[in-house]
Subunit: 256 residues, 2 copies
């Protein structure tokens, strides 16, 4: 189970924090690290010093440019967030997140990403809206900003406790539904926005949080792959109606 939990660090500024996060992960039995557009060299003397023997995780880390690439194959994406933003999103506590993991990972195709933002500014609204849920580590309201590696430590600790308590999740029943991956969901949202523009319902110049609200609704429902295929079929038909002159979008969808 633990091997299918990915820690994603976005825009990290301090190599020591990458090393500290790697150490916390390895201590708790996690191994899958992804770095999104780090704002520092990932592997420095500080990294190795703070990793204290866990720098192999940094060597093996995937380094990518966007959150989308880092979590494309994940079926649950949870963002660590200090506070609720403009548009409230489903929140879980670290403990509730841990307790949810064995079931989330009961299918061997499922993967969970825990996403951590920049030391100074956290995750952007756009990044937070790509998450199924947000997790908030309770802190002293007068001094609430946790060190990045300390935040990774707390969530990794909850992952390990859940694994120790429940053991490996049982292999899925053969009829378990396949959840949509992050990548499939993003293709759907792209398609949805295009269709809403086509029918004149949505003006990207005046977004009014429309897409954010549709994201929140859709992500809350945890769509299966099959369900997204149906929804995309509906969108294609809608687009065809709006622009009868254009080629069918079925082919375009395949390249999204």
């Amino acid at each position: 189970m633990l091997e299918r939990i990915r820690i994603v660090l976005i825009g990290t500024s301090h190599p020591g924090n990458i090393g500290g996060a790697a150490r916390a992960m390895h201590n708790m039995g996690l191994a899958d690290l992804a770095l999104v557009a780090p704002r520092c060299e990932a592997l420095t003397a500080d990294t190795v010093s703070r990793a204290s023997g866990a720098d192999a995780l940094v060597h093996d880390a995937r380094s990518v440019e966007t959150l989308e690439e880092a979590v494309a194959d994940c079926t649950l994406v949870v963002g660590a967030s200090a506070r609720s933003r403009t548009l409230p999103w489903p929140m879980v506590t670290p403990r509730a997140l841990g307790e949810r993991l064995p079931e989330e990972l009961s299918s061997s195709e499922n993967r969970v990403a825990l996403v951590f933002g920049r030391e100074d500014s956290g995750l952007t609204n756009a990044e937070l809206q790509r998450c199924h849920a947000h997790v908030h580590i309770p802190t002293n309201p007068d001094f609430s900003s946790l060190n990045l590696a300390a935040a990774v430590q707390v969530l990794a600790y909850e992952c390990r406790l859940a694994w120790l308590e429940h053991g490996e999740p049982p292999q899925e029943a053969s009829d378990a539904p396949t959840l949509a991956s992050h990548e499939e969901l993003e293709h759907y949202f792209t398609h949805l926005e295009r269709a809403l523009i086509a029918i004149g319902f949505h003006d990207p110049a005046q977004p009014r949080q429309l897409m954010a609200r549709l994201r929140r609704f859709t992500l809350r429902a945890r769509p299966e792959r099959m369900e997204l295929n149906i929804l995309r079929g509906i969108l294609s038909s809608t687009e065809k109606l709006a622009h009868p002159e254009r080629p069918a979008t079925g082919e375009r969808a395949a390249h999204d």
Copy 2:
């Protein structure tokens, strides 16, 4: 409740870890830090950098030479231990420790100390045997050594969760027994060893873990102050019998 939880760091080598521990404490609402014989300067640029605004806790920290001084007034002393030692000691998980705190701290005279050892070698057996219980943070057996500040973070997090869940413990009933403090217990153990030598039962040159076993037994029972007074009365009478020529030890006990 949180203000009566003390974090005790013994023989710390790296100022950055003191700063990181202070930050973790302040993030979780703890404020009482004691440093026992640090092996580095406590307040350096590294401390301040890692404390990230919580260096007031290091300024205010008590710096003492021995564990005894650091926890003299504490009614529960728990040592963070990587593994069980020669003589197995009562173990608690971090979560069970958190759940126990509201009751432990229901009397306003009670204080809890969480004791952390050296980065390279942890706590000595003598230090571990001065604790009522040991707490072990579950880790990957292949990579089990947590960073000091990360270990403080996990236990401080459990303290905060327990406090958030249970709120402030109710004020004690007026007939609640007063637990013996660490200092009173240590005076008792000194007296006990002296008496056992006097009656020829104990040879300090061949200790055979006798005192360690008696410590474990006594600490497990969580003696009240009143009970220790009775036990010390018994010891004084025993000593008098063994050495009828010496002055009564009742007066000596008062100076221990």
